[in-house]
Symmetry: C2
Subunit: 241 residues, 2 copies
Amino acid sequence: MGGPQFEPVRTVRAYERVVEQVEHAVERGELRPGERLPSERELMVQFSVSRSTVREALRVLQARGLVRSRPGDPNGAEVLPFTPAALHKSMTTLARVEELSLAELVQFRMVLEGAAYLLAARLHTSAQLAEMDEAVARMRAADGYESFSAADVDFHDAVARASGNKLIQICSDVVRSIVLDLIADKIRAPEQRLRSIAHHEEALAAVRAGDGPLAARLARQALSDFYSPYLPAGALEELLE
Amino acid sequence: MGGPQFEPVRTVRAYERVVEQVEHAVERGELRPGERLPSERELMVQFSVSRSTVREALRVLQARGLVRSRPGDPNGAEVLPFTPAALHKSMTTLARVEELSLAELVQFRMVLEGAAYLLAARLHTSAQLAEMDEAVARMRAADGYESFSAADVDFHDAVARASGNKLIQICSDVVRSIVLDLIADKIRAPEQRLRSIAHHEEALAAVRAGDGPLAARLARQALSDFYSPYLPAGALEELLE
DNA sequence: GCTAGTGCACTGGTCTGACCAGTAGGCTAC
DNA sequence: GTAGCCTACTGGTCAGACCAGTGCACTAGC
């Protein structure tokens, strides 16, 4: 005791240093989406590492959704605009290996969508209201599950954007697609669509009236109604108050 | 028109095939956490690809938090239990490059924690209540920011676990740590701790009484009070009702 | 007999150098 | 002036090598 306080040395792999540097450049905005990284052979000179190391670093960056590389592209890897793809991926594996139940996922959606409606009711612009109107109209006019679903997604996305919270918007989107994936094989009865449209219209009216709590409650109720056939009884009632 | 419907061929990199196979094995539970992958040299035989390809695949799997490899380990890469590390990473980059404001993050926390309290009030076990009691006691006894903060985290984690929703639990945890990272440099006044403890006790009482909506409101209020000094005025009021 | 120490076989990390298929853009032949 | 080719690159993959670590079996010493 009393000697100098040595700290354990963390060995850092070379490719990790490369990842770090590129990542920081992107986060600091020195590399903007659409810009190109130097070619792998150029990078190995700049970082003075071998191409294997450069490539492993690029694989990590690609897995994190920061860059993309195409074979033969003479411009080098492209810096991507942020997409929730990485978020989506990690939530999906979470859902699979951590054995998230459908009930938990739908609960989560109810929470997020409820919040989105609550905020949207107070913060919406008239342009966003128009988008929602238009999406509902497309739901009513839809002639198949595909187009109905697309309009539905657009509607929810408009609400989420109107909430003004990008995190809520992105997470809602991710969780929704995961949930839809999980029940994709089960057929949805077309008559459900009519009820779904009615639900959307009610909630939209509440948003238009600026009644956030009502809109949120209706949204949660709609989700609960829609998913209850796939869930054990009473799995969602705690969030309906 | 009328000819055979050809689909565009997506060229799939070799390392992606390797990633896929390992990923599926993990998701199907054929590879359980703690088990070992064969060594890289063994994998290159099994997949009949070169070691570079195997290594690029391993880098991707590692970036996704599925495996970890240590130099010199004679057992090969280790399959990891799921950790939200990848989720954390992608949300952090989301926060940075997508320019999420602190207000948005705190809003998100309010939504998640509110839901956690709401559910916890109805679903808690007595053991979980005891944990919360014990965490509050440790907050009161804390002699520095470190120990106070650790007890605080434990309290919130107990609530989140009591909600019965792992997704809420994990996301709360991730967002909380991101938020705390963002304001880490700003000093928090010790007198805030007393108010914070009082808030926790109020909310805990509501949880114990089974009053979910009250607990949720108190939790949101507490967050709002705590973070309002760092935020523009009125940034959170929409969620307080 | 048992333990402490040594050596070995193997690991992952990195490097070098090579080949291939694909792309973009300049150049040439019409 | 344009259509088509050519070339100089790119990323993807492979092969083979070296190094610093690690765990385990074996051995020398007690």
